[in-house]
Subunit: 342 residues, 2 copies
DNA sequence: CTGTTAGCGCGTTCAG
DNA sequence: CTGAACGCGCTAACAG
């Protein structure tokens, strides 16, 4: 209970108090039955009394394992990153790992710097949404024995085990939902075509159109960076025209806020005047009135899968596949309606 | 460039390659001028060639400093925690510290467990939004030389340096704003009275009323936990009555979504039918139409201040004060209007 | 200015 | 089943 000296108790203190060698104390506390049941219990009791806590640094130096996992994301504003951080943190902690949070702002230099620091810390593993510009660093790390799991975005250069959303299928399902409601002119607001998700969602949209026998009209697509401003600009580009679409598919999550505002500013009522379908669910969409229908990209599932994969690799088994996809799922709420026009 | 052996290069390798003692290499890389400029540069060059990176674990074992900072928050859904995590992470990294992210869900047992683990990791410092039930653990840590900075909520038991929002003043300013617009019946939806912020915001509201010579009506106050459901329930309690308020002050951030929905379900138009003022700003409020006026509690400022304080303590200077307040600021947008009734 | 020596706290050989 | 000795990689005395 009380501290004999002022310092934290060390293994040596425990051994001294128990009148055994340090190594015996070590074995007793490890508890693998490498010591007599009697001394094991006695030493564990003494350790508890002294408030002994093993020094992670010393242990790590010896075992070459820090029990630290790097979590590298672009920010915490994005709901997928948030889910990833919360879930990964919780699950890894349950397995005795701690999470080092690193934010890169999607910038290559910050990412490189971060990765070097993480190597210095001797992290045991890494979950990262890569910028795409440090592929060699990442694959070096991975090959040198530190498992690296990619999430959300694929790094084209590094051949990492990567957990991705099923974006082609999600965008396809969303578009088909709108088509099934009779919409023929569907505006698409989507991410930059330089990103995997941007390209794949556009592809899913096009495929659905094609299967429905509707020709693709590029002027109905507005691509832009992941920001509310893109949604606002998209509204201007898509809605202020002679033949505006009867439905909007917002497959760029961050731009949803801008779209909502763009619609409000034009006094367009959802779903009376226009149907609205968004991508990636957030609590706000469910609470909104009318509640916004979404294609949920499965951020939680991705977080769990990425954690599963990392844990597996940490236990020694190498990856069987190098790409995992998490199914998207359509959540119908109140923002989409049967097309009333002709 | 290339790896001579398969392992990461160690200081010993550098010393060997440079034909100097390990300690010389150490000093040269530290760069404090404790070695001749010539060898310093030579060794730094060799280290770079070998791709040498110091082992943080070994260094920490020696220096008794891990360069790790624990960041303990309840979740990442709350905007204040998010801001704290992003800002603290970024600023601490710039100072050579890494951030261990720990999520407690506001539960005492998880917090206690987390704190023990952080002690095991020999963190150099801690920023925490405490549950309030582990005060002795926290003050022990703080007294034993590991600086602990509290944020957002005060732990009544531990006497930590704490950075708080100026909630009494913020709620006062918000209420007065509504009063100045002529509102006399102002509904308040506020946090649980067991929390500091819940109590202080109610107090600010009451003081503004009192200064305006309006008697306090307890039935106009709905207190509840930090969740959207509270907002919905608050609407039911406050709006479905014979004499509903003409303005709503939502001083429980998480419940805002529920309030927005409650208003929509009652076909109450903001600000025509009712004025709405929220607490704590988020991007959604600015993009919403009508844009929601808020009392910004200054999450970013709190994050910066908490980081400042921690950094100061890390540098050795002890705190002068033990409570810091960050000013709240009223941001007028479009959701409040002059009272039109009698 | 540099080399030698001695640990930091722990796990893990090797003997006994 | 237990103890003694060694080393993980690094910094910080102490000498020279």
């Amino acid at each position: 209970m009380s501290s004999p000296s002022n310092r934290a108790a060390t293994l040596r203190d425990v051994a001294l108090a128990a009148k055994v060698a340090v190594s015996t104390a070590s074995r007793a506390l490890a508890g693998g039955g490498l010591t007599s049941r009697a001394t094991e219990q006695r030493i564990q009791r003494i350790a508890a009394e002294l408030g002994y806590r093993p020094n992670t640094l010393a242990r790590g130096l010896k075992t070459r394992s820090s029990r630290l996992i790097g979590l590298v994301v672009h920010n915490l504003a994005n709901a997928s990153f948030r889910a990833l951080a919360e879930i990964a943190q919780q699950r890894l902690r349950a397995e005795g790992y701690q999470v080092l949070l690193c934010i890169t702002a999607d910038e290559a230099v910050q990412e490189a710097e971060t990765l070097n620091t993480l190597m210095d810390q001797r992290v045991d593993g890494l979950i990262i949404c890569p910028t795409g510009d440090n592929g060699s660093l990442l694959s070096d790390l991975d090959k040198s024995g530190t498992p690296v799991i990619g999430v959300i975005r694929r790094d084209e250069e590094a051949l990492l085990e990567t957990v991705l959303a099923a974006d082609p299928e999600g965008a396809f399902a969303g578009t088909r939902h709108l088509l099934a409601l009779g919409h023929k002119r569907i505006g698409l607001i989507v991410g930059r075509q330089e990103t995997t998700s941007g390209r794949e969602r556009l592809a899913g949209y096009r495929r659905a159109l094609q299967e429905a026998g509707i020709s693709f009209d590029p002027s109905l697509v507005h691509a832009g960076r992941y920001a509310p401003e893109t949604g606002l600009a998209g509204c201007a580009a898509l809605l202020d025209r002679a033949d505006p679409p009867s439905a909007l598919f917002v497959a760029n999550h961050e731009s949803s806020l801008g779209v909502l505002r763009g619609l409000a500013e034009r006094n367009l009522i959802v779903p009376d005047d226009i149907s609205l379908l968004c991508y990636e669910d957030v609590p706000g969409f469910e609470w909104q009135r009318p509640a916004i229908s979404v294609v949920d990209s499965g951020a939680e599932a991705m977080a769990h899968l990425a954690t599963d994969r990392l844990l597996q690799r940490l236990r020694g088994s190498s990856g069987t596949s190098n790409e995992y996809r998490v199914g998207a799922k359509l959540i119908e709420r109140q923002s989409c309606r049967q097309f009333a026009g002709t």
